[in-house]
């Protein structure tokens, strides 16, 4: 009934015979296939993508800072013993479930200056400008639109500098700058190296923007 029951009646055609000509797989083909897959994977998932994310060390640092922040809050309130116990119980549950917002804010405040200290990146602004102009990851009109936004931001900085209100508006201007930079970084998904360089050197770019005088 089944062909396998009678092996003598199985007739191999030519391609099947060719496939069975060698009893072992072609090692060169396997190596080429593996190398090709590796190249595709490397192109699709660049290795430096890991470096941009939040590292485990940062996360651990945040959870370490949480504990004294919550303790200080509890100490400042000076509640009766019952309330203090309730606060302690809440603190335990908060530690287990999710970090408290003020604690996170305190942690971020502590981490920000540390990161700022870690980021004195030597940046050649002219090279960055040239790379941004020459990249193929964004088109001509997009580049023009970004240029318009940058010119607007510089004009605004200069306007506030002339009115001696730069310090007052610094936070707003910095927020605008951060938004613009994030836009550019997001647009440069086709040129991840330039995108990373821009993001890493954002402090230097901000300083250079502040130094620009009309």
């Amino acid at each position: 009934m089944f062909a396998s029951a009678k092996p003598e009646i199985i007739v191999y055609n030519k391609p099947m015979k060719d496939m069975h000509a060698t009893g072992y797989p072609n090692v060169v083909d396997i190596i080429v296939a593996v190398l090709t897959c590796l190249v595709v994977l490397i192109l699709a998932f660049p290795l430096y993508a890991d470096a941009q994310g939040c590292t485990k060390a940062d996360k651990v640092e945040v959870s370490k800072v949480n504990v004294p922040a919550v303790k200080m809050k509890a100490a400042k309130t000076k509640q009766p013993e019952k309330q203090a116990r309730a606060v302690k119980a809440e603190k335990k549950s908060v530690k287990k479930v999710a970090p408290a917002a003020p604690a996170v804010a305190g942690a971020v405040e502590k981490i920000k200056p540390e990161k700022a200290k870690e980021e004195p990146v030597a940046v050649d602004m002219e090279t960055l400008k040239k790379r941004l102009k020459e990249t193929d990851a964004i088109g001509v009109f997009t580049k023009l639109a970004i240029r318009s936004d940058i010119v607007d931001l510089v004009d605004e900085i200069n306007r506030h500098r002339k009115q001696s209100r730069l310090e007052m508006k610094m936070a707003n201007l910095r927020a605008s700058f951060d938004g613009l930079l994030l836009k550019i970084v997001a647009l440069l998904e086709g040129d991840p190296v330039l995108s990373r360089d821009l993001y890493v050197s954002r402090e230097s770019i901000w300083k250079s923007l502040l130094e620009v005088k009309a």
Binding site: N26, D29, V32, A33, T36, C37, V39, V40, L43, A44, D136, A137, I138, G139, V140, F141, T142, L144, A145, I146, R147, S148, D149, K183, L187, G190, D191
Partner: protein, 84 residues
Amino acid sequence: MKRFLLVLLAMVFMIPAAQAVTRAEDIATTIILRGHACPGRTVSNVSESVDASGNKTIQATCPNGARYQVNVSASGRVSVQRLN
């Protein structure tokens, strides 16, 4: 096996080619950058004109049917306005 390898190699060469943006994507990105909605990040029915003073006007239609006009001044300023 060899066909499979050829397909893989073609994919390897296609990935860098796919990173370069087309003109339609460029115009759509510009529209999005100016705060307008253009789903699909591409446009169609693109028409372009340049006046005597060097101002460029581009009209394009997004996949949602919205038609936009992108104005690029001679000094390089970009503005977008919706037509319909």
